[in-house]
Amino acid sequence: MNGGDTAPSEPDARPSRWRVARRQLLIGAGATVGSLLVGVPIALEYGRPSLARWMLERGTGPAEIPESSLVWFELTGDGVTLHVPKIEMGQGIHTALAQVAAEELRVRPERLAVVQADTARGYPAATLFTFGSTSVASLYTPIREAAAAVRAMLAVEAARQLSVEPQALTTVDGAFQVAGTDRVLTYTEVIAAHQGPWQEPAERPALRPAGEFTSIGRSVPRVDFRAKVLGEATYGYDARLPGMGYGAFAVPPRFGAQLESAEPGDVAAMPGVQQVVIDVEAGFAGVVADTRTRAWAAARALRTTWSEGSRVDTGALERQVTAGDGVVLRRDGSIRDALSQGRIVQAEYRTPLAAHAHLEPLAALARVEPGPAGKVELWVPTQSPESVLEDVRAALGEERAVVVHVTQLGGSFGRKGGQHLAVEAARLSAATGRPVHVGWTRDTDLRQAFYRPPTHTRMRGSVGPDGMIRGVEQVSAAGDIIWAVAGLPEPVRSIIGFDPGGLLGLFLPYDLPAYRLVNRREQLPVPTGPWRGLGLMPNTFALESFFDELAEAAGTDPLTYRLAHLRESGEQGERLRTVLRTAARMAGWSESLPAGRGRGIACSGDARTVVAVVAEVDLSGGRLRVTGVDVAVDCGLVVNPAGAKLQAQGSVVMGLSSALREELRIDDGQVVSDNFDSYPILTMADTPPVRVTFVGGGEAPYGMGEPVVGPVPAAVANAVRAAGGPRLRSLPLRL
């Protein structure tokens, strides 16, 4: 069962031979007699469509789009196991995917066990990469089709065993019944009595009509939570092996500092220290000890010298990220004409460096077999097993067989997709010949991370005599996001000039006679990278704050103003109008509020989902308090309403945390916000009621992991202004 299955163990029996059937369905011989394995190859929708297209057109994407057995079913006497590549880090996707499979298999979703795939179970590592709010959206149809094919295959066999026509069978919760009789065969019985090879159904099985869904659309219980409430789920920090030591290693005192020398000093004689491992050429100095705190203390006591590195501070970083010239990404109409008439409004916005601050610090467990070609096995809380695998091979030798087991993740928000401790754990294991677990302290985790890059945006707009917007110019700069994790040489990045991750949330959804968009990447001396929604939230903060400034200049209600500028925007515009109206209705937008209180609205689109947020604030006593948040979301079909609501509420809290609290400070090339006292995140005491309404529906689910975070800070800033407060243009918002 999910949750407990990631404990170190021998890899599960995997199908030893896949037989490709007519439509590329893979039918496997299971390790267990009387079991049936069916896999489905899926051309992975590699990333958000626009980004994927962009990367592929330029030939900078992954060498090949993986196409392989991404999802497989295992039907045995014990029930149905669904093997999925996508990684659970709290999104609830394992539950949602189980529901989708259960629907077409016609079993209760509670009867499905979900197993997290690893790189040893027939998956290329790249297919495990979990990112961009794509998991449920990209696997929804393939899983349904595979499950329907499995059921159809079983139905044909069951009919043969019962000597009836398949049409005479009805299916109820994992069993076939001959209609009008009490003759029943369970799936297990059908499989057990079957002999010879399985045949794929001759015709593509029909999928269940949405009107008949019994599983999709229901708030079924999470598949991983019983293990979690019992303390039985294995997260990366919990991974254990017999005879394991605890590892730790010296970390640079400043960004960019390189190890120049390392001496054990008296460390080898410290209590509990088992081995000191120094490889200056590889930039590594570490220890293995019998307890974690002894390992940490010993690593701190190593005598190391480092090159100077960067002495940058927060102020210098912000000066470097200054919007100006850049790549013109869009040019509609004549911005020069638009900005030479009407009422001109201009403003600039900033968002700071921010941390992911997932509550489980980074960790990894490694077991490296002796010899230069010894097998490497890793247990890692990662969104990207492929990068772990590649990095470990690069560090320990390309000839090594490397297996990455993915544990449960105690939060990630983009952080556990890039740098990680697997390489360090593997180095220590290789040097000591025993399994080694490495886990970071909170301060190391915050200091040695990559961060949400700072952004700066200059907006200029003009409002015509009719009150409508004549044109908008948006010029922005930001640190790297995708370039920080994608393998592309720096000269190429420089030539491209902008980071594709920084584009999310940049394109105005509004109908404007003129629009000019300029963006520039800035290579910073501080590591930056993906943070929930990438550029979505910083960009939406600038854009949707500025939209309210234009509305104010026009003397028009911000909701009315948005609706008026979304008339011609096609389907996207229509969907945005619906979520805006819904959120406004939920919040009682037209009802007046006492002095010192106000409501703000903002919207955005991401991963095909559109979101509108209304925030209500209270400024009485000179303090900014958010008193309520209403969210309307169109994420298409909702597979699990309770899970989707959690994602929405959690995104609001994370957005509020960014709006009100978070700012990573750097001094002399080192993070000084290195724990939750100096890097406060939102607490329960500051969390208002968050109401969520889903308005989408339709045939397909869209992304739900990130989109809702987008409009939150802008909605709060707009509410502050509506409450009679100042126009706040940088995060975190301070009165």
Partner: protein, 157 residues
């Protein structure tokens, strides 16, 4: 020295280590979680003589004879160690789950202590008790709902 954990005595080796690491690494009770090491986040909360306590902030030796209860000690178990019934707080969090679950043990232990002294807490009391514990996935409103549900389940039981 020995510690009384979840009703059983355990011999432990590293009395000078924080209780958190003795639980996790010596005894394998990984349901108690590390989050900050300075007593802020609450992920490492256990019950020490019935009071919610940050296990990163005291050594095993400082615990002495006082009983410790961790997440693993809450469910009712049969003679074979198998779970017979979840604690009402655990049951409530199965019905009303959080997201990643890393902060969960701290919230569960805090709620267990709250319900022991106040079986029918109002929302403000629940929030006051739970507020010191962080949840980065943003499940604060869910936690309040789950604790209220736990109180209901405990009263029904």
């Amino acid at each position: 020295m020995r510690l009384l954990i979840n009703g059983r005595h355990h011999e432990i080796e590293h009395g000078d280590e924080p209780l958190l690491w003795v639980l996790r690494d010596e005894l394998g009770l990984t349901g108690t979680r590390y989050g900050c090491g300075v007593g802020i986040c609450g992920c490492c909360t256990v019950l020490l003589a019935g009071r919610p306590t940050r296990s990163c902030q005291l050594t095993a030796a400082e615990v002495g004879e006082r009983p410790v209860v961790t997440l693993e000690g809450l469910a009712e178990r049969g003679p074979d160690g198998k779970v017979v019934a979840l604690h009402p707080v655990q049951q409530a969090f199965v019905e009303t789950p959080l997201q990643c679950g890393w902060c969960l043990p701290g919230h569960v232990m805090t709620a267990v202590a709250l319900l022991a002294r106040d079986p029918d807490p109002d929302e403000a009391t629940i929030a006051e008790a739970a507020s010191p514990n962080l949840c980065r996935c943003g499940g604060y409103n869910t936690i309040k709902a789950a604790v209220a549900r736990a109180a209901e389940l405990a009263r029904e039981a």
